[in-house]
Point group: C2
Chain length 359, copies 2
């Protein structure tokens, strides 16, 4: 586990450095367009940097695993995967009305405040902030894909990888739509939550970069299936653990406050199971807290206690562990051709790390 | 002009048919994911269909112009360009808070109302509608790009075209950001408006599909420059004329009400010039109308009269004509290699049509 964590940190630094180059080069060009555009990419830095780089690392190690040798070029692809992720995060933050990401104000919040400099107490400030954030997300989407087209891989391989990326991102959009419906559906059950995790984490966070790395190294279509068997349960475990940390983890380390999921009205597995197992009073307290912008510290504490008392926390931990074992089992079967040992160890280590991490 | 218009109608039917196939095939797949996803693509039909297909037609004729022979495949690309356009329109409609597009409710409005079925008088209905619309935009973006990767053109040519598409769409995002700032900047002048037209119409609507078609036909990089000399002034003329029609055209034909630009607070060249030339009273009336959701028919009539009286309407018409002549001059010089006559006539005819159209 520690080896995987330190590999992740090392690779994250390399990815950050390439991503920074991409953004700085574009900044030089785009800032000439208008003073307004000067700060556009700069304001995306807090969301672009500060992540764990799990997606970029997956692309990197998967490429290595299938015998890829061009480190410089695969790192560009890792940076592309992370820039694509920033595009989705910026849109997600708008949808979730999140104020903070990586301990910094989110992009739409930055621009909401920016409009205040021009029109104090601007009645449309929130809408202005959200509009600019939608655009900056779109800009990062196309900028990252442009950078991808400019990498040195063979055109036919790049096209195959792009076909995969766009298939997966289309599905990610469907997952996100299902997620948004969670806020208005009268009954949300475990299958709804797990479907969202399947699309947004199993397929998007895990499978997509693993497949892209493998494709760029020349993997055959049937070899990709082995990666999927690791990716889907691995991603599900990651997301369930992420929701546990979001509420029970260290706020400083997580980079957002422990009440933010509740305030957003996010129906995590923790919440769903507590509602299912809880008595009338407990359900009342949870439902009162969900989506409540004025949530107090005591409200949060009460909900956390209910999640513990109803065994919902234990249940989430158990499910996460089960998925992770499934992912590790898949890996132990995994030897489609002479797979590079270091990469396999990374995937194995990540599986343990995901369950035991604090951030 | 009539020949170009009828060519446009013929080609639009072909493009619509391919686009419909793309959406239907995807619908069959995606509707299995969840009942929620059943309607997602269906709800995008009003924005996906009903447009003039100018972008798709440009890609088609530019491909022909440079000797491209594969009609079936270029029509797919035309449909891709139009699906990409629908993605941007859906995001634009959120940013502009537009309720109507092509005489139908916009996507975010459809979902705003949809949430009402689950939670009557839902306080977050607008936000819910906008969130789903952002996602459907993203879905169409990736779906169209996936369809592009699956066309039969050579991989290296597809990569070159994609590099161009993403460079242009990144710049389109910058143009849209500058456009959004129009709402909060204290002084917006002609150069601001023309910069937005340059990015959003000259480069995005005209240059992008013209270049993409040419690239797919195997045009050289230096041949693209000739297209740019037509595209930029042609697009500027188109947009200025579009803003004139938006306010002075037939509401039924345009598909939106004549007061919508004013209600959105859109600072068109018509508005900018009227503010510049108007007296204090006239400026007061315009400023009171800009962004006023409660605008009456009489308010609209007053603003239109001021635009006429200050010669702002004449000015916009004059500028549009000047740009269009510039575009036509560029065409008359245009003979980089044995260009197909029919395509050249289309571009020429479109130039006239744009200035004389009613819709």
């Amino acid at each position: 586990m520690d080896a995987a964590k330190s590999s992740l940190i090392t690779i994250a630094e390399k990815i950050d450095s390439v991503l920074k180059t991409f953004l700085e080069e574009e900044s030089k060009k785009s800032s000439k367009i208008s003073p307004i555009i000067n700060n556009v990419l700069l304001n995306s830095y807090p969301v672009c940097f500060g992540g764990k780089r799990l997606r970029g690392a997956f692309a990197y190690y998967s490429y290595q695993m299938f015998g890829g040798k061009n480190e410089k070029e695969i790192l560009k692809v890792s940076a592309v995967m992370e820039m694509l992720h920033s595009y989705l995060l910026i849109h997600d933050d708008v949808m979730d009305s999140s104020d903070v990401r990586h301990n910094k104000p989110t992009v739409h919040k930055v621009y909401e405040r920016e409009s205040d400099q021009y029109i104090p107490n601007y009645s449309n400030a929130t809408h202005f902030g959200e509009s600019i954030a939608i655009n900056i997300g779109d800009v990062l989407c196309h900028l990252s894909l442009m950078n991808f087209t400019q990498t040195d891989f063979k055109p036919e391989i790049k096209i195959t990888a792009l076909e995969k990326i766009h298939r997966e991102l289309t599905d990610t959009g469907y997952g996100q739509i299902i997620d948004c419906y969670g806020a208005i559906l009268p009954d949300v059950h475990e299958d709804h939550v797990l479907k969202v995790h399947y699309f947004k984490t199993g397929k998007y966070t895990y499978e997509t970069p693993l497949h892209v790395g493998a494709i760029l190294a020349g993997a055959e279509r049937n070899e990709l299936r082995y990666l999927t068997e690791y990716a889907i349960p691995g991603g599900m475990a990651f997301q369930i653990q992420d929701d546990i940390l979001g509420m029970f983890g260290d706020e400083e380390k997580i980079g957002k406050s422990a009440d933010s999921d509740l305030k957003e009205g996010k129906k995590t597995l923790l919440i769903i199971k507590a509602l299912e197992n809880g008595n009338e009073d407990q359900r009342y307290i949870i439902n009162r807290a969900l989506g409540n912008e004025l949530l107090t510290k005591q409200d949060l504490q009460e909900v956390k206690q209910i999640i513990v008392d109803t065994k919902s926390l234990d249940y989430s931990k158990e499910i996460a562990k089960r998925y992770m074992n499934q992912a590790k089992d898949a890996l132990s079967q995994f030897n489609p051709r002479d797979v590079k040992k270091e990469s396999l160890e990374f995937l194995n280590g990540i599986a343990d790390y995901v369950i035991n991490r604090e951030v």
